[in-house]
C-alpha cells in the first residue's frame, strides 16, 4: 500500500472517529459518575438538527455549534430530571430519551431535509501538515476536529489529575459513602449528565455541519449506540476512548479501503461493518465478567436518593 493511501486512510479515520470520540467522552464521564444514559443517539440527533437549522438560518456555523450543544444539554436535563430527580429506571429513561430525540429531530427537521449548506472547511496548518503519514491526519482537519483534540486533553486532565476527577469517580463508585462525606452526589451526577448532553450535541453538530454538511433523518446511524459500546471497550479509561473511537472510525471507512484496493462488495453489506465490529468488540471485552466488574463504575445505572 502506498504512503498516500495510508495517509488518506488516517485522515479519514480521524474524521470518522471524531463524532464517536466526542459522544464517548461525554458518556464516559457520565458513566464514571454512576449514570447510564442510553439517550446518546437522541441527543446527538437533536443536536445535529438544531445545529443545522441555526447555521442554515443565521449563516453562523459557530452559533449552530453552540446551540447544538445547548440542545443536547436540554435533552439531557430531561433525562436528569426523570432518572435522577424522580429515581426512574435509567435504562428505560435513556431509551425514552432516544425515542423522543429521534421523533423530535425528525419532526423539527422535516422541512430542512436535503438543503445545502457550506460546512466547516479544513484548516491546513502549513509545514506540520506535510509530515508524512500523520501530517494530514493531525494538521489538515477542520476546526471542530482540533476542538475535539483540545476537549480530549481537557477531559483526560480533569479525570486523571484533578480533584474533580476524584469526586466523579467516588460518586460513581459509592454514592452512599460520598454523600456521607458531604459530596453533593445528585449535583455531581446531574452535571456529568449535562456534560454528556453537551458533548452529544457537539457530536451531532459535527455530523450536520462538518462531516456531511446537511440534515437527514436518523443521520447519526447508530453512532450514539456505538459510542456506548466504545465506553465499555475503553473500560472507562480516557486514553482507550480515543484509541477506540479512531479504531471504529477505521472500521467504518473500510469500504473506502476496499474500493481503493478494487474490491466490489455491495454497499449494504459493507454498511454492516461498524455494527459487526461493535458486537465483536463487546464480545472480546466482556468475555471475562470479573474484569468488566473491576473497571466498571460500581454503582453504574443504580438509582440513588439521599437519606436511604
Amino acid at each position: 500500500m502506498d504512503i498516500d493511501l495510508l495517509s488518506n486512510i488516517f485522515f479519514a479515520m480521524v474524521r470518522t472517529g471524531t463524532p464517536l470520540l466526542l459522544v464517548a467522552l461525554g458518556e464516559m464521564v457520565c458513566e464514571k459518575s454512576g449514570v447510564l444514559n442510553l439517550g446518546q443517539e437522541g441527543m446527538m440527533l437533536f443536536g445535529a438538527v438544531t445545529g443545522f437549522i441555526v447555521a442554515f438560518s443565521t449563516g453562523n456555523l459557530w452559533l449552530g455549534v453552540m446551540l447544538a450543544m445547548a440542545a443536547g444539554m436540554l435533552l439531557s436535563m430531561l433525562f436528569a430530571a426523570v432518572a435522577l430527580g424522580f429515581n426512574a429506571n435509567q435504562v428505560a429513561t435513556g431509551l425514552a430519551l432516544t425515542i423522543f430525540g429521534v421523533g423530535l429531530s425528525t419532526f423539527v427537521g422535516a422541512a430542512w431535509v436535503g438543503k445545502p449548506l457550506t460546512g466547516f472547511e479544513p484548516v491546513v496548518i502549513p509545514l506540520l501538515s506535510d509530515i508524512p503519514l500523520i501530517g494530514r491526519m493531525l494538521f489538515a482537519q477542520d476546526l471542530l476536529i482540533y476542538l475535539s483534540f483540545v476537549l480530549f486533553a481537557l477531559v483526560a486532565w480533569v479525570m486523571l489529575k484533578t480533584r474533580i476527577g476524584l469526586i466523579v469517580q467516588a460518586v460513581g463508585e459509592n454514592p452512599d459513602a460520598a454523600s456521607a462525606m458531604g459530596l453533593p452526589v445528585l449535583r455531581v451526577r446531574t452535571l456529568a449528565v449535562l456534560f454528556g448532553g453537551a458533548m452529544a450535541g457537539l457530536a451531532g453538530a459535527y455530523l450536520s455541519l462538518a462531516y456531511t454538511p446537511m440534515w437527514a433523518e436518523n443521520m447519526t446511524a447508530g453512532r450514539g449506540w456505538i459510542a456506548l459500546a466504545l465506553v465499555v471497550f475503553a473500560s472507562w479509561r480516557v486514553f482507550r476512548v480515543l484509541l477506540g473511537a479512531y479504531l471504529f472510525g477505521l472500521a467504518s471507512i473500510i469500504h473506502l479501503v476496499a474500493q481503493g484496493v478494487g474490491l466490489s462488495i455491495p454497499s449494504n453489506l459493507l454498511a454492516m461493518l461498524p455494527y459487526l465490529a461493535t458486537i465483536v468488540v463487546l464480545v472480546l471485552l466482556s468475555r471475562d465478567p470479573i474484569k468488566t466488574r473491576l473497571f466498571a463504575p460500581v454503582s453504574l445505572g443504580k438509582p440513588w436518593q439521599p437519606g436511604h
Partner: protein, 513 residues
C-alpha cells in the same frame, strides 16, 4: 442544669427524628465532656445510627437542639461537622475501593487540605504516632478490613479532632485487634479528644468507656457508669424485660455424620474475593456447628459452595457430601431435594426478593413441596403455606401479600427461617441468622434452631457474633483467610481461643490430621 456541670463539649437536648411509620429518636438528651469516652448502647433499631447521623450532620432532627461548647448550632452537613472537629468512623466503611488510601483521605479533607501526594507524609506520620501503620499509596480494595478501619480513623485524625464517633467499630475485628484499637482510643482521649463509642457489646463498653447512655426504642432508657453495672443491669436497660438473655442451651453431641466437607479447596477468580484452602468440616445430624470469623475471610465463598450457587466440576463431586452422597457438583435445587435448606446472609436481595410478596417468597424455595403442578403455580396452596409460616413463627405482617421489603429485619428473618424449617430439612445452613435483628426475634430464632436440632437436623451456623455462637453451637471453629481451624467442642474452648483462630493462629497440620 448545665451551669452546675462543666461546659460539655457536645450537648444534645430533646433530639427527635421521625421517619414515616416510626419515631427513630424521641427526646434524646446526651452530654459528652472533653476527653471522655462515652458509650452509646442499644440494641439494633434502638435509634443509635439515627442519632449519630444527626450529630454528624448527615440528617437533620425534626426537633431539639445541638450545643457545641455551649453554643447552639444547626449541623447542616458532614463538612460542617468536620470543620468543627467532629470525625466519624462508619460501620460500613465509607471508603472508595478504586482509590488509594491517600486519595480517599484527600477527598474527605476538602480542597484546601491539598492533593493526595501532598498529604502522604502527614498520613505516614499520624498513622505511626497512633500505632496504626498504613501505606498511603495502596489501593483500598487491596486492604484488609482492619486496615480499612485504620484508614477511616486516620482520616479523622488528620485534622484537629475534638470528637470521634465510632459506629460498632469492633464488629469487624478479632478480639485482639479490638484491644489494639482500644489502646489507640485511650491515647486519643488522654490527649483531650472526646469519643462517642457506639456498641451493643457490653463487655467492651465496660472495658473502655467512662460513661454510657442507653437507648431503647428511640428513647433514652438510662445513663450510667458502665464499670459500676453488671451485664444484666446494662442488658435490662437495653432491652427492658431481660427474659431470654441468660438462656443457655444444653449442648449435645449429635448422631450420624450428615454433611462432610473433605479437603475442599477453591480458587476464587474474583480479585476482591477469598480463595478457600483445604476446608475440612463435618456436621452430624442433631448438632449445631458454628463457624466464627471476621467477614471477608471466606464466609461468602464457603456458603456459595455448600449451597450449590457455586457448583464444582463433576470430578470434584466428592469434596462435599450429604449422608455419604457426593453433591459438590449439584445445583441448589438438586441439593434441596436431598434435604438441604439454606438461609443466606443477606435477607433482602438474596434470601428473599424484596419486591415480591411473602407468598411469592415462600414459593421461591418451597416449590418442590407440591406447590407447582404441570408447570402451573397452585396459588391457593402457596398462600396457605405462607400463612402457615406466618402463624407458626409469629411473623408480624398484615397478610401474606405484603412485600418482603416492608417487613422489619427480624420479622423477615423469622419468615425466611420458617420457610426453610417448614420444609423439614436434614441440613440447615444459616449465615448470620440474627444479624441486625432485635432481641426478641433473635431469641425466637435461636429457639427455632435448637428445636430443629433436637428434631434431628444437622445445622451449620456461620456468624461474626461470637456470643451467639457460644450460646447455640455444640461445636465451633473459625475461618481465617480461607482456612478453617479444627472444630472444638464449645464447652472445651473459650472466646479468647476462638479469637486467636479468627486471627489465623491455628496449627494447619492439625486440620489435616
Amino acid at each position: 442544669m448545665s451551669s452546675s456541670t462543666p461546659l460539655a463539649r457536645l450537648q444534645l437536648r430533646g433530639i427527635t427524628k421521625r421517619y414515616p411509620g416510626c419515631v427513630a429518636n424521641d427526646q434524646i438528651d446526651l452530654n459528652i465532656q472533653a476527653g471522655e469516652i462515652h458509650a452509646l448502647l442499644g440494641e439494633n433499631g434502638a435509634g443509635k445510627s439515627t442519632l449519630m447521623k444527626i450529630i454528624y450532620g448527615v440528617t437533620q432532627p425534626d426537633e431539639g437542639e445541638i450545643r457545641w461548647h455551649g453554643e447552639t448550632l444547626k449541623m447542616r452537613d458532614p463538612s460542617m461537622a468536620r470543620t468543627l472537629g467532629i470525625g466519624m468512623v462508619f460501620q460500613h466503611f465509607s471508603l472508595f475501593e478504586t482509590l488509594t488510601v491517600a486519595e480517599n483521605i484527600a477527598l474527605a479533607m476538602g480542597r484546601q487540605a491539598g492533593t493526595a501526594q501532598q498529604l502522604e507524609p502527614k498520613i505516614r506520620e499520624v498513622s505511626k504516632r497512633y500505632g496504626m501503620p498504613l501505606e498511603p499509596e495502596r489501593l483500598v480494595h487491596s486492604l484488609s478490613i482492619g486496615e480499612r478501619q485504620r484508614v477511616e480513623i486516620v482520616r479523622c485524625l488528620m485534622q484537629d479532632i475534638k470528637l470521634l464517633i465510632l459506629d460498632e467499630p469492633t464488629s469487624v475485628l478479632t478480639p485482639q485487634e479490638a484491644d489494639e484499637l482500644f489502646t489507640t482510643l485511650r491515647r486519643l482521649a488522654s490527649e483531650g479528644c472526646s469519643i462517642l463509642f457506639i456498641s451493643h457489646k457490653l463487655g467492651e463498653v465496660r472495658a473502655l468507656c467512662q460513661s454510657a447512655t442507653v437507648l431503647r426504642g428511640g428513647k433514652v432508657s438510662g445513663h450510667c457508669i458502665p464499670a459500676d453495672c453488671t451485664d444484666l443491669e446494662l442488658a435490662r436497660l437495653m432491652v427492658g424485660d431481660a427474659q431470654g438473655l441468660e438462656t443457655r442451651h444444653a449442648k449435645v453431641s449429635g448422631a450420624n455424620l450428615f454433611l462432610q466437607v473433605d479437603q475442599l479447596s477453591w480458587y476464587n477468580p474474583d480479585p476482591f474475593g477469598t480463595s478457600l484452602k483445604d476446608i475440612q468440616l463435618n456436621v452430624r445430624s442433631g448438632e449445631i456447628v458454628g463457624i466464627a470469623g471476621v467477614a471477608g475471610n471466606g464466609q461468602d465463598e464457603i456458603l456459595a459452595l455448600l449451597s450449590g450457587e457455586q457448583p464444582l466440576p463433576k470430578r470434584e463431586a466428592l469434596r462435599i457430601s450429604f449422608a455419604g452422597q457426593p453433591v459438590a457438583h449439584l445445583k441448589p435445587d438438586a441439593r434441596r431435594q436431598l434435604g438441604l435448606a439454606f438461609v443466606p446472609a443477606e435477607r433482602l436481595g438474596h434470601g428473599a426478593v424484596p419486591d415480591m410478596s411473602l407468598s411469592d417468597n415462600a414459593l421461591l424455595t418451597a416449590f418442590q413441596q407440591g406447590l407447582v403442578s404441570k408447570g402451573l403455580v397452585k396459588r391457593s396452596k402457596v398462600v396457605a403455606f405462607a400463612e402457615e409460616i406466618i402463624r407458626r413463627f409469629a411473623v408480624k405482617t398484615p397478610n401474606a401479600e405484603t412485600a418482603a421489603q416492608s417487613l422489619s429485619g427480624g420479622n423477615l428473618q423469622k419468615f425466611i427461617l420458617g420457610r426453610e424449617i417448614m420444609q423439614n430439612p436434614k441440613l440447615l445452613i444459616a449465615a448470620h441468622p440474627t444479624w441486625g435483628v432485635d432481641v426478641g426475634a433473635a431469641t425466637a430464632i435461636h429457639r427455632a434452631l435448637i428445636a430443629l436440632r433436637d428434631a434431628g437436623a444437622a445445622i451449620l451456623v456461620i456468624s461474626e457474633d461470637l456470643d451467639e455462637l457460644f450460646q447455640i453451637c455444640d461445636r465451633i471453629g473459625a475461618l481465617s483467610s480461607g482456612k478453617l481451624s479444627t472444630l472444638a467442642n464449645t464447652l472445651e474452648t473459650n472466646p479468647v481461643e476462638v479469637g486467636r483462630w479468627m486471627a489465623g493462629q491455628f496449627n494447619t497440620d492439625a486440620v489435616l490430621s
